[in-house]
Point group: C2
Chain length 213, copies 2
Amino acid sequence: MGIDPDVAASVRADGVQKQRTRRRRQEILEVASQTFATRGFYNASLAEIADEVGISAAGILHHFKSKDQLLTELLHHRDMADIEEAGHGHGLRGLEFLHHLVDTAARNATRPGITQLYTVLSAESVTTDHPAQAWFRARYDGLRAMVTEALADARDIGELRDDADIAETATAIIAVMDGLQIQWLLAPGTVDMEAVTRRTIDALIAALAPEED
Amino acid sequence: MGIDPDVAASVRADGVQKQRTRRRRQEILEVASQTFATRGFYNASLAEIADEVGISAAGILHHFKSKDQLLTELLHHRDMADIEEAGHGHGLRGLEFLHHLVDTAARNATRPGITQLYTVLSAESVTTDHPAQAWFRARYDGLRAMVTEALADARDIGELRDDADIAETATAIIAVMDGLQIQWLLAPGTVDMEAVTRRTIDALIAALAPEED
């Protein structure tokens, strides 16, 4: 029994249509990322994103039902999980993982667009009823848990003191990386994110070093 | 020769009018501070600020010629210079000044409104054409210079090593305080700004301690 040629053509057409839809959604997400980074989420309008993509605002709403939904899908889809990737991707443990965060800071200094997107959105997310507030709260919970786990590993293998307060140290490491981004975005020639991240992580770890015998 | 009673009455009326204008401007600035903190600068409208003050949007524009001008006057007028005040007000020098920054972090945890205002505005300020971008750039330049000066003092009086890299350390201290604010605003019960600021400053300073003889 052969395949009905009309059915086959229709299946192929469906496939082409789905691919087109996927590409268009991807393009909208990319333009939205740039626009939110450059202008801020609140300040960016669907009209200007549509304009940049070359469709109408209604065209965007065909793919994403609102500006809020566009933001939340963007956050879930886009690769903002660099820290997770950077560490786990290389199978690093303990202090090695922490030292690898310095590379993350160095990489962030080569891509101001993504760094700015993250800086602006995370701060805007603390405002009342912001659509990504829960996302950022969960993200910071996850980051603190991940860095705390790396510090716990380091403690377990004797790289840190038994009584080291690792939760506060994890919070500090994440904080310095975030705070540096604001200073760097305003004065990229003055602030060396990589060097300052290294200095701070080294100092925090040295403060938890095992007692020498 | 006596004073013309009409002139005296007119001067008094002028004085009353000026006082009223000053009070009204002050009130608008306070409501705008709260609104920008709660909703973000871009997301807040003059209409809702006017509504909260109990006047019309045109009434606001009588005192401040635009929303941008309202923001810049707010930043110049409001007491966001706590770090400067805290240190210099107490005449602290060297490491004493740095330890005092821990008190600043503790005080910020008691006033979420001002902390949120500063966090949201500073991050939004990195976006293109933001009216307060120059203000925040100058503010961070000033903060780095001030903390660097305190570290230089500490070095001069032998509290730190002669070759201590104080500029990077100053940048790190300011960064950790900023980054902590975002985490704290999203999870105030989880993040202890005072303890983590103390831990980070202590670790950074310990890393620059003079060699023991």
